[in-house]
Symmetry: C2
Subunit: 642 residues, 2 copies
């Protein structure tokens, strides 16, 4: 249960104002020193941020990894200086020098908050809307962890969003999902400043955001004066008391206190300039050197930090009790947070391969069942394609029961991926999500963040080629596998049969420092291992293929061997590990874009145009994916063609 | 102005029911014949579709390209059989054989509606949510065309959406945008059947959709019985009378009339099966052979078609009048619909190049200004980055003035791209949209549809590399250029200076059969043309580069020449046109993924990991994009290293 902390009464009006000005001018000083950045958001949102951090946020600056800390997400990531100012003031390991090096190479204060670069930064934000969605994922993981370890997990997730976050489509997916699952520990503060980069919000948007969030089943609040600390405090308190997720519109003035530019888009993304900055400080009665945290504020933040440290100490005592009273539960808690795997996993996955032909999406379903049986922390679901993608799994997580493991993400691919990122960042779970490969495009911006943040999210992408058939070009991926392979840090695996699918799942789960995309077939494929890969004598032709095309390669190889060629077939589920045999004529077969293959092989057989609607086998034949057609291409290349 | 058509009174209860059953069983027969497809949606939505097509839709089946027809978009594209049934019944060029060949290779009845494959299909749908957003684009184009030619353009846009469309984030972006611009000619019917692929909608969604759309400023209606033709008719009539865009929730039963599966997800994506189909027909008292359109329905549809033909004839008469009274206006109307370009364009673009160094985004702004001065039909805007992306343009289109040309899309990249597709499909305009290259990921699914539908949308992507600098890895594209190049049918151009930027714009505008992505720098680049490209004597090294890296290549070449090498520099704004000189050692320089270059060159200098936050020049240097660092790599490759 949440401990009610008795916070010392530090909240005099004077202290609040001084603290708010400290945040404002630290942020403005940072931007000015860098001569680059976004001063307007921190200057306008400082009061709400201070109110939240001084009255509500439960955290221990000395232990940014404490499992049961409240999470704070700055979804409006361009306001990074706000977050760095707070972290610095509260004693996180972010000294003044780092603030002075804002946006400089190698600093801990990059232009946008980058997870892993700065203690206290919970996730990478800047690509708008994703912070909100990741926070939804954190709030879901919190409730799910609470259902498993109520004494160890009981915290809130707070978010500050801007207008951009709310205009982005992902805000709809995430907010709708949070409302559906009743994530009452989630509190969103909207920096309602009526300004975007290009000008006034009302140039492009007339949404009634409170009504909109109410339509999602959220509790809503409006604070009409964004400098009114007491009003913000009370709104947050009511939000925490309400069982629904909460959305608080806080009306602010961008760049508040910067004469001549406050309230305009000029305050958004450029330094104030020395002159305006000096005027701002004078108006505020601020006569400290740049980067100053006044002593009274240091003292207050230190006291507040002690409150968090005490809460953390209490939690550690609870955990120590658990280690004595229920050592297995405590060990599991620790293992899952450390992303350790039980030894039983290998055995479970080794039992998956069968003798019968089946689609690799079905192999994957068997792997998921096997892995799930030994990994209680493995949770996830699908963007409404669980049955189709082989991710039918456990009972559904609902607003009344967070102890289950299957998540119905709805038809919200981008939201799903960002929520998975948030769950992974929260810790305690290994997560997966699925959709058709062609819809990897819908979630690509979040997948990129999985890779950038090194989160081991497992993406299950099925229906991986034109063999999808009748659904036609809209549903037939062409560029998709290749476009995933170019994302730095993403492992892309396209297994050919049960054995490779089990190995792919094993690699995906063993990987703890980045995401993996599993590329799986809709159509049945034979179990190939051990068949057709051996070569006798010298090799003159090497055929490399992935996934469902490996069987085709094996069939082609058989024909070529009958003609006297020495042929090696290479299955390359992870193409980045394929080492071409430069002494042989090399041919690749993959039912998608050839662009990444042409440097590896002499003849790349693929598809560089959109597909067609028809039965899968006919479409494959139409586009040259039959033994005969491939043979003809290879013979032509070898110079034996007619 | 809209002519009020006197429609013959064909609406007896019996005729309506017979027509609805005709749609239902045509659709079910199609799916059954193909043994593939989605019968549930057509069977449940047939009454609303019939009501719309019989009472409201203004169209001439003999002239599916009539400029002033109402547009009908089936955003729930998996229900394609519904649309094909209607097109067939109303006498579009879609004979029974095509219905019998539903989902077969080469048919005009692909699995999802594909623009260009079937007369009467207004856009390609299936990727959920995009149909709604394209319809918003059509409705915007209608109002904008109306402002220019009120006598020639005055029609409605109707959409049927499913739950999936409404869960997708793009529905938020599009609906919010439509509400903001007051697109009152847009009428959306929601097939509210409470079922998705995986089961009940309430597994994943609890939105109050009416409240949600009201929050966007829409008029809303609820029809509680989706078989009540009169109620649907009246709701549509009220929607048309309301000045706001309208959202009508029509409660339906998926697979209605199919015993045992109606109202369940089993009805969604599989054929009914011969037995259930036979039972369904028996229950409905339907005793016709498969694919029958009963004579009374043929007769009614023919009469309704005549109404549309008459409206079309009236319109043609109006246009003929205009050709006499205002031949220039009529010619412009025709030219813009035919996507012809005035001769003045070349001259205007030729005047762009200047002598001064500047960012190619600035060059592009100059091109846009030049093109806009001679192309009144060139309209577009930015996802709230007009100032940053060099797309400041004309006055803003507002709900009170659609005669302007600049569109503030808001922070809605995906919505922007889909809306641009809809505008382009509507016709009469050439369209562009802009954002940072890194956010091309956000709109990628719509860009793919631009290519699949062959729409000449111009995408302006700026801030095209790590040279973005301080904004850091989230804002620094790495995989993006390459991931665009693999999309079939998309032209990707990365010009190096003013001359190439003007040429890129010219190509983009001359292209009428597909989209173009312009990849532009944030940072200043020199005007290169004519400098540093000439070679004297034999060529031993060829350096190929794009965009801002061409200047770097030129600088490197100069050094190498001083060392005695014969060096050619190739600027390859369109890499697909680059033909390597296989007699030379080839080096590519592009500040992004190398994967597409390795087959073309011996040494590909690029970036295959995420960037870093710092001043642009420092980040470039840090990642090896200086003359010295590149020289060292080349010397090493040439064996002269260290």
């Amino acid at each position: 249960m949440t401990e009610i902390l008795s916070r010392p009464n530090v909240s005099s009006v004077e202290i609040d104002q001084l603290a708010i000005d400290t945040i404002r001018f630290l942020a403005a000083d940072m931007v000015q020193a860098a001569n680059s950045g976004h001063p307007g958001m921190p200057m306008g949102a400082a009061p709400m941020a201070w109110t939240l951090w001084s009255r509500h946020l439960r955290h221990d600056p000395a232990a940014p990894d404490w499992a049961d800390r409240d999470r704070f997400v700055l979804s409006a990531g361009h306001g990074s200086a706000l977050l760095y100012a707070l972290l610095h003031m509260f004693g996180y390991d972010l000294p003044e020098d780092e603030l002075r090096n804002f946006r400089q190479l190698g600093s801990r204060t990059p232009g946008h908050p980058e997870y892993g670069e700065t203690p206290g930064v919970e996730c990478t934000t800047g690509p708008l809307g994703q912070g909100l969605a990741m926070a939804v994922g954190m709030a879901l993981a919190e409730r799910m962890a609470h259902a498993r370890h109520p004494g160890l997990t009981d915290h809130h997730t707070y978010v500050i969003v801007g207008d951009g976050c709310l205009m982005e489509g992902i805000s709809h997916e995430a907010a709708s999902f949070a409302g559906h699952l009743g994530l009452g520990r989630l509190v969103v503060l909207w920096d309602d400043n009526s300004i975007t980069i290009d000008g006034a919000v009302d140039r492009s948007c007339s949404d009634d955001q409170l009504a909109r969030f109410a339509a999602y089943g959220w509790h809503t609040e409006a604070v009409l004066d964004g400098t009114d600390v007491a009003a913000i405090d009370q709104a947050i308190a009511r939000a925490k008391a309400d069982p629904r997720p909460s959305f608080i519109a806080v009306r602010t003035v961008i760049g508040q206190g910067a004469p001549g530019i406050e309230g305009t888009s000029k305050a958004h993304g450029s330094p104030l300039g020395e002159e305006v900055l000096a005027q701002s400080k004078e108006l505020a009665g601020w006569d400290h050197p740049p980067f100053t945290v006044p002593d009274p504020i240091r003292a207050v933040c230190s006291v507040l930090g002690d409150v968090g440290a005490k809460a953390h100490a209490n939690w550690l005592a609870t955990f120590a009790d658990l280690e004595r009273s229920a050592p297995k539960a405590a060990a599991e808690f620790r293992r899952t947070r450390e992303r350790g795997l039980p030894e039983a996993l290998d055995e479970a996955l080794a039992a998956v391969p069968s003798e019968n032909a089946r689609a690799t999406r079905q192999s994957s379903q068997a792997c998921l069942d096997a892995a799930g049986s030994v990994l209680p922390e493995l949770v996830g679901g699908s963007a409404d394609l669980a049955g189709s993608t082989g991710t039918v799994y456990d009972d559904l997580v609902t607003r009344n029961d967070y102890s289950n493991r299957a998540i119905a993400f709805g038809i919200r691919e981008f939201g799903m991926a960002a929520i998975l990122n948030g769950m992974s960042l929260h810790g305690g779970f290994r997560v997966f999500g699925s959709t058709f490969l062609v819809f990897a495009d819908y979630l690509r911006p979040a997948l990129r963040l999985s890779a950038l943040m090194r989160q081991p999210v497992v993406y299950v992408f099925t229906h991986d080629s034109i063999a999808v058939g009748e659904d036609g070009p809209t549903h037939q991926p062409i560029a998709h596998i290749e476009s995933l392979r170019v994302i730095p840090g993403l492992t892309v695996l396209r297994p050919a049969d049960d054995l490779e699918t089990a190995e792919a799942w094993r690699q995906a789960l063993e990987r703890t420092d980045g995401p993996t995309a599993l590329i799986l077939s809709r159509q049945s494929v034979p179990q190939l291992r051990g068949k057709g890969f051996d070569v006798e004598g010298s090799v003159s032709v090497e055929i490399v293929a992935t996934g469902s095309e490996v069987a085709l390669a094996a069939s082609v190889a058989e024909e070529l061997r009958a003609e006297g060629y020495g042929v090696r077939v290479v299955s390359a589920p992870d193409r980045s590990r394929y080492t071409p045999d430069r002494t042989a004529t090399r041919v690749s077969i993959e039912a998608g874009s050839t662009s990444g293959w042409t440097s590896l092989v002499d003849l790349a057989i693929g598809i560089d145009d959109f597909g067609a609607s028809g039965p899968g086998g006919e479409v494959m034949a139409h586009l040259g994916f039959t033994t005969e057609a491939v043979l003809a291409r290879i013979r032509e290349h070898l110079g034996d063609g007619s």
